[in-house]
Amino acid sequence: MKYVDEYRDPDAAARLAEALRRAVRRPWVIMEICGGQTHSILKSGLEELLPPGISLVHGPGCPVCVTPVELIDAAVAIARRSEVTLCSFGDMLRVPGSGASLLEAKARGADVRVVYSPLEAVKLARARPDRQVVFFAVGFETTAPANALALRQAAAEGLENFSLLVAHVLVPPAIEAILRSPDCRVQGFLAPGHVCTVMGYREYEGLAARYRVPIVVTGFEPVDILEGLLMAVRQLEAGRAEVENQYRRAVRREGNRAAQAALGEVFERADRSWRGIGRIPLSGLRLREPYRRFDALERFAASAAAGQESGECIAGLVLQGLKKPPECPAFGLRCTPERPLGAPMVSSEGACAAYYHYGRREEGGWAGSA
């Protein structure tokens, strides 16, 4: 598959690993932000190729994981209404709320459907004027433009039975929150490549300068991640702190103007609570006034009252790169994908899920040769 297979090539990976070995003189802690990157690293066993001295920590780039539990609860409450068909990306269904997850609600009769695109939800609203079709709009800046366009289309067609439950989050404020934490050990970042195809990377330049950290916009395949690490390490060794673009084939500095325009027409920045992390100012999106009538929380007068979390779940620490999943006392024992205590164990971008599925459960590392 073109533009995929080449970036999984073993020779390219080996040469980049060799270059990394030559480049590293001191230990460095680097965070990859996107959960998709975390999974790629664990799925390919990439850390085995790294020289000692490079420590990878995993970031909060899992929109499913950081959706506040209050919104899950609201989604479940809305889905339980007999007139509602709630559409969502598959991942969200498994995430535990204060009580049930969406999938549990579905098992008990709520009309919950998995879609791969917001346009499918709009199509459903068009086909079923008798139903209230609610789309659970989760995601980073990558997904927001698509949701914006879908809503614009619904509005233009007069599909008043359509609404969005908005849970969008933004990456740069999250990076800043991590950098400001007194426990932060991260010295360099791999920024999420697909978010940057939309937003570009100008917003990261201020962060890099203010906090003196290199930020490398990076793709998702093993060769991408290795090249991104090489670029970050070279900066760190040279004492530089700039924004560089590894994902050059897909990302331009100014991003995608058309996508940004759609996003800006429908959404505006708002404060958002990140599950496990807390409130980060202006780190989320909400519907702008002309589209407010499509807001599901308002339409269904659903409360977003504070939810309840498992006392044991340390998702917040995992998402900020302060702990690794195997360090959680509940990991693999009281918290599994079948019975999750928190979101990162059931999201396809969650760090806990990645360690659970791809790593040895007992110690998170390897026992025995293979």
């Binding site: 598959m1 073109k2 533009y3 995929v4 080449e6 020779d11 390219a12 040469r15 980049l16 270059a19 030559r22 480049a23 996107c34 959960g35 998709g36 780039g61 929109p63 499913v64 990306f89 991942d91 791969y116 695109s117 917001p118 346009l119 499918e120 989760v138 980073f140 990558t142 997904t143 433009p145 698509a146 366009l149 289309q153 233009a156 067609e157 999420p192 490549g193 697909h194 978010v195 195809t197 939309v198 060769v223 090249e227 670029m231 070279r234 060794e237 040279a238 560089e244 050059r248 084939r249 897909a250 990302v251 331009r252 995608n256 058309a258 996508a259 759609a262 999201s347 396809s348 971008e349």
Partner: protein
């Protein structure tokens, strides 16, 4: 959720009701209808990165090749000084 796959535009389709461009994109033999609303410049033959049914970016072939040329140079013994980037 940040899952985006690269595919080749094989056919442009009629614009949808909102006047936005759509295309058939081929992913290693699988064809899907994709919105080109965010990539108005894309043409048949271009590769695009597709996320939740929308093309977000046209893949730059020249940039895509750079890393592999760089790695070839590296293998041929022209190891660059640490300051150089690929």
């Amino acid at each position: 959720m940040c899952l985006a796959a690269p595919g080749k535009i094989v056919e442009l389709l009629a614009e949808d009701a909102a006047g936005l461009r759509r295309a058939v994109v081929d992913f290693a033999g699988v064809r899907r209808e994709v919105s080109l609303a965010f990539t108005p410049e894309a043409r048949p033959g271009d590769y695009v990165l597709v996320h939740v049914g929308f093309a977000l970016s046209v893949v730059d072939e020249a940039e895509a090749q750079k890393i592999f040329r760089y790695l070839e140079e590296m293998a041929e013994g022209q190891a660059p000084a640490p300051e150089d980037s690929p």
